[in-house]
């Protein structure tokens, strides 16, 4: 079994705010991240797939195709967007890095060919903060 990772990146605005809570409660829980006029990040996305290299190509999967699929189904949708307002697959969810990683997993797993096994979504919100999601 070999793991293969493709790195992509996107920039987006978001805020952390639970619509069921008051502004004060949101500020208490989320601090500056609750700023009503948004803030933003340079997100770094690592998509890892796993499998056995094909005897014919030596590849698990054509990494250029993987890149194109990530770009089409994730980057095009989130890049330079407001995650709370513009992104269909985050509608009704809290725009935390955790939920965004799960959303990206669900988005990608729908569009990857059946023979490709998704292993991990690692998503950096800042160079010092990242989450990992392994599905399930």
């Amino acid at each position: 079994m070999v793991y293969l990772t493709r790195i992509e990146h996107f920039n987006a605005a978001h805020k952390l705010s639970n619509p069921a809570w008051s502004y004060e409660k949101n500020e208490e829980v989320f601090g500056k991240c609750a700023n009503e006029n948004w803030h933003g990040h340079n997100y770094e996305l690592l998509v890892t797939i796993k499998g056995e290299p094909s005897p014919d190509t030596g590849f698990i999967f054509d990494v250029k195709r993987l890149s194109n699929l990530i770009r089409e189904h994730v980057i095009e949708i989130v890049d330079h967007r407001n995650l709370n307002v513009d992104v269909e697959f985050m509608k009704g969810k809290m725009c935390s890095t955790e939920n965004l990683a799960i959303g990206i997993w669900q988005q990608l797993s729908q569009h990857l060919p059946a023979e490709v096994q998704l292993h991990c979504i690692r998503l950096y919100e800042t160079p010092r903060i990242y989450v990992e999601y392994f599905g399930g």
Partner: protein, 138 residues
């Protein structure tokens, strides 16, 4: 000891912004600024490097106390811009397009009065790991 030395302090802040010229229509803004003009904002992890150049002080050996420089950057820059929408939440960009170029100039102007005149100041601002600007340019 009379040689000039450059010392650096790195800080960072996260902010939302959009690039647009209010004198232009949406089509022109989109043509010039592309995705950066999208109406609901996007954002960046800005990385700021502040460079101070001068001769080390004879008594301390410092060009500038880096703790004092750090406190200054946090007070004047970080507290003003971190987790803010540059277009909506800051006085500085109410009528100024928040490009990396303009943000660097604004940061320089905010810091300059607090640093001794005999010391040179330069700011380098990373908007992304691959896009950065410097002011003043050599």
């Amino acid at each position: 000891m009379n040689k000039r030395v450059a010392v650096f302090r790195r800080e960072h802040f996260n902010a939302a912004h959009r690039l647009f010229n209010p004198d232009w229509d949406d089509t022109t803004n989109e043509k010039v600024f592309g995705k950066c003009a999208l109406p609901n904002y996007h954002g960046h992890n800005y990385e700021l490097e502040v460079k101070v150049t001068g001769k080390p002080d004879k008594k301390t050996g410092y060009v500038i106390d880096l703790k004092e420089l750090s406190d200054l950057v946090i007070k004047e820059i970080h507290s003003r811009f971190d987790h803010k929408n540059l277009n909506l939440d800051t006085e500085e960009f109410k009528e100024l397009n928040p490009t990396a170029e303009n943000i660097a100039i604004v940061i320089y102007k905010l810091l300059r009065p607090h640093i001794k005149e005999k010391l040179d100041l330069q700011v380098r601002l990373y908007e992304t790991p691959r896009n950065f600007v410097e002011y003043p340019a050599e």
